[in-house]
């Protein structure tokens, strides 16, 4: 392995390490700190994700999440709505 190849491999491994830290950090940051106001209560991104799949929330002008004006989901289940 030439010196140039070794250097590019080290750079690549550093980039991989940086990406792992960045993306794992994004997940950790979300779980630890990110909260959205949903129906007036602070909820995690995971909850917002789940509610968004069932179209149970929409974002208002003030940035808070509320129930949609027109109910689109089948209330009998929390299954993601058919698209």
């Amino acid at each position: 392995m030439t010196l140039a190849m070794q250097r590019s491999r080290i750079l690549r491994l550093l980039l991989i390490a940086a990406c792992v830290v960045l993306f794992a950090g994004a997940i950790a940051y979300s779980l630890r700190s990110v909260r959205y106001s949903v129906y007036g209560k602070p909820e995690t991104e995971l909850t917002v994700t789940k509610l968004s799949l069932t179209h149970r929330i929409e974002r208002r002008q003030d940035g808070k999440f509320s129930a949609p004006r027109r109910e689109q989901t089948d209330k009998r289940s929390d299954k993601a709505c058919p698209t």
Binding site: L15, C19, V20, A26, K50, R59, A80, T83
Partner: protein
């Protein structure tokens, strides 16, 4: 060449088993992991789906004008570790295409320039359309062939209202086109239109799992090119963004797997 074909068949078989196992695992609804996305194109509206679709989540969060930290984190980690490995070995829609491509039919070669369309789909239909036209039916999910196959059709068959018939007909027409493309061109959807593939392709250049061309063994026989499921030259374009890491080319002995 016969030995190479035999080895490649073995790899394809292993891949098929892995893809089927992934599909089975992602189809256990009582796992109730729908708040987390799986790094594959599998519609969360499918009656069997256990996890969320990352593209669906990205579309919803674009509509909300909120950054999807967890989805991007999951996709980024998976991409950093394996590049497009999930496209080749885990994606259920990839499995469907691989099975369809086994049908004996006339094959077509896709023009090279078409591969850039998937980046336009990612930016236009996944990120911009829901952001600029929230609530309008012009997002990726409204045209997604995986969503049509796994969700819209099953729900329509079960008698659940899935919107207007014109919309459903359009979706079925798009799905039919994509399935026909899969028969004629191996992984046509993944190569040309898949926005998830577009995301992962950015990681192929530096991911931990990579392919290594063993140049000294290359005899210019063209076997790698012939075997490649996405129509690239694995020797000249090792770790190209188009490579789905199916590993078929490793059966030639001229391309190896490398970690790190």
């Amino acid at each position: 060449m016969r030995g190479i074909t035999k080895k490649a068949t073995g790899i394809s078989r292993a891949r098929l088993v892995t893809q089927a196992a992934a599909l089975a695992l992602l189809s256990i609804p009582f796992l109730r992991l729908q708040s987390v996305c799986a790094p594959v194109l599998y519609c969360h509206s499918c009656p069997l789906s256990a996890m969320a679709c990352p593209i669906g989540v990205a579309v919803n969060f674009s509509t909300f004008q909120v950054f999807p930290f967890i989805t991007i984190g999951i996709l980024g980690l998976v991409g950093t570790l394996g590049g497009r490995f999930v496209c080749g070995w885990l994606c259920p829609f990839g499995l469907i295409q691989d099975l369809l491509h086994r049908i004996r039919a006339r094959r077509i070669a896709l023009p090279r320039g078409l591969i850039y369309a998937k980046y336009a789909v990612l930016v236009g239909l996944v990120l911009m359309a829901p952001l600029l036209l929230p609530g309008k039916p012009y997002t990726f999910c409204d045209f997604c062939p995986a969503g049509t196959l796994e969700s819209a059709i099953p729900w329509a068959v079960m008698g659940v209202n899935t919107g207007d018939w014109l919309g459903l007909s359009l979706r079925i027409a798009i799905l039919s086109g994509v399935l026909l493309l899969a028969v004629a061109a191996s992984r046509g959807w993944c190569r040309v239109l898949c926005p998830l593939g577009a995301m992962f392709s950015a990681f192929n250049k530096f991911s931990l799992l990579r392919l290594k061309a063993t140049g000294h063994k290359c005899t210019n026989c063209g076997a790698c090119r012939e075997i490649c499921s996405v129509g690239i030259d694995p020797i000249a374009e090792t770790n190209s963004g188009e490579c789905i890491r199916c590993l078929d080319c490793t059966s030639t002995g001229h391309v190896g797997i490398s970690i790190g």
